[in-house]
């Protein structure tokens, strides 16, 4: 027996230790009060080491976390930059849409005021030089656009159609030196012809010297040329020149429509007019 124990002392020891462990578990399970002096010694001995190790680990973890955060922040920063760029583009598009929407609403409002056949069109091109003032629109003969139709915007007169193709048309602007529109000073009803002066806007010519014309007066279409409806605003007089000897006076006009920034226009067929009794333009 002793020989067996001696030869198998490791197994026997392990078995006894297993038994001891079971007794410990059993007693510990019955009474959870841990009156274990060895455990207390172990805990006390390990305490300073644990504190130190915990501090070191915490510091290391904090450093690592900061590093990871930094890496994360960099990636996030990049991602946010991209997102910001996207949002800025989107915001730009939305602003553009809002602007377009506003312009179209104004155009629609203006169109609803006019009595007669009208065609909304988009500006698709501009004059290729500085000596002529014209623009191209995306509507043509197929859309019912004809040469001689007036072109308006909610802000006022723009010009007239001078050439057409099936799907586009060329518009001569008020500011082109070949342009001529029969006009009237809104306040005094003085008549004249508004011609283009290129970069200087327009001038109102053939106004009799005795007519009451002042700076700030609004000039509208008279409707007598058979192209523009009566009462459409052309612009505002910025300067009046009276020759000492001549019978006529000349007024410089700043067009009310933003001719260099037009995007949508309204093409008006002959016969269209603003409703009575208003003759003050849009």
């Amino acid at each position: 027996m002793l020989e067996f124990v001696r030869r198998n002392r490791i197994i026997v020891t392990s078995g006894l230790l297993l038994l001891l462990s079971l007794l410990l578990v059993s007693s510990s399970a019955r009474s959870r009060r841990r009156g274990d002096p060895l455990a207390a010694v172990l805990l006390e001995a390990m305490h300073p080491l644990q504190v130190a190790a915990s501090d070191i680990a915490a510091a290391g973890a904090a450093v690592w976390r900061r590093y990871a955060d930094l890496v994360g922040v960099r990636a996030e920063n990049e991602s946010l930059r991209r997102r910001l760029q996207q949002l800025e583009e989107q915001s730009g598009r939305l602003a553009e849409l809002a602007e377009t929407n506003q312009r179209l609403n104004e155009l629609l409002g203006f169109r609803s005021i006019l009595e007669g056949q009208t065609h909304a069109a988009q500006v698709s091109g501009r004059n290729p030089g500085t000596l002529f003032q014209s623009l191209t629109i995306d509507k043509g003969e197929h859309d019912g656009i004809r040469k001689g139709f007036a072109v308006l915007s909610p802000q006022g007169a723009i010009g007239q159609v001078i050439a057409t193709s099936p799907h586009s048309a060329r518009v001569l602007l008020l500011t082109d030196h070949n342009s001529g529109v029969d006009a009237v000073v809104q306040r005094s009803r003085a008549r004249g012809i508004v011609a283009g002066a290129l970069a200087d806007g327009c001038v109102m010519k053939y106004v009799e010297r005795g007519e009451d014309v002042e700076v700030g007066d609004r000039v509208t279409t008279s409707g007598l040329d058979g192209i523009f409806p009566k009462g459409i605003l052309i612009g505002e007089i910025t300067k009046v020149s009276r020759n000492h000897r001549g019978l006529l006076q000349v007024a410089e006009i700043r067009p009310s429509a933003p001719l260099d920034r037009l995007e949508e226009v309204l093409v008006v067929e002959p016969g269209a007019r603003l409703p009575e009794p208003s003759a003050d333009g849009p």
Partner: protein, 166 residues
Amino acid sequence: MRTFLTFVAAAGGALLLQTTVWHWLPLGGAIPDLLLVLCVYLGLHQHSVGGALGAFFLGYAQDSFSGGALGLNAFALSLIFMVVYLTSRRLWVDNAISKVVLVFLAVLIKTAAIIILLSIFLSTDGLWSTVVRHLPVEAAVAAVLSPAIFSLLAYGRQTSPAEDET
């Protein structure tokens, strides 16, 4: 004596890691059991009563810090020591891969033993989700770390006289 002290230092270090550093590592709450690796080492290389006692005290120390019922880990590690001891006497487990596999299996055996004891003496309520979530990671990490730990302990043994009692 030096082997003993080396082993005590290793056990203290393992306990320290398990109670502090491991909790800071991003292992999803898993705590790799280095004390079990030491116990497997004892079963492989310390074929003596001292090895058996060492395994028991490794478990006892773990119990002291675990807050569970005293004796659970002591029982499990004593069992591991015996299983590894018997295995190493019958099978050739002297290469790195077999040791890694042995450690991995030892983690499973230890967990099973503790669960059985808990089901007998206490309760296993809410235990399974924790086991399922953490056991694979704990077993894998312990197995991966075991060659390095075995090498360190072997180095410590080489610098001291052999004390095996085979």
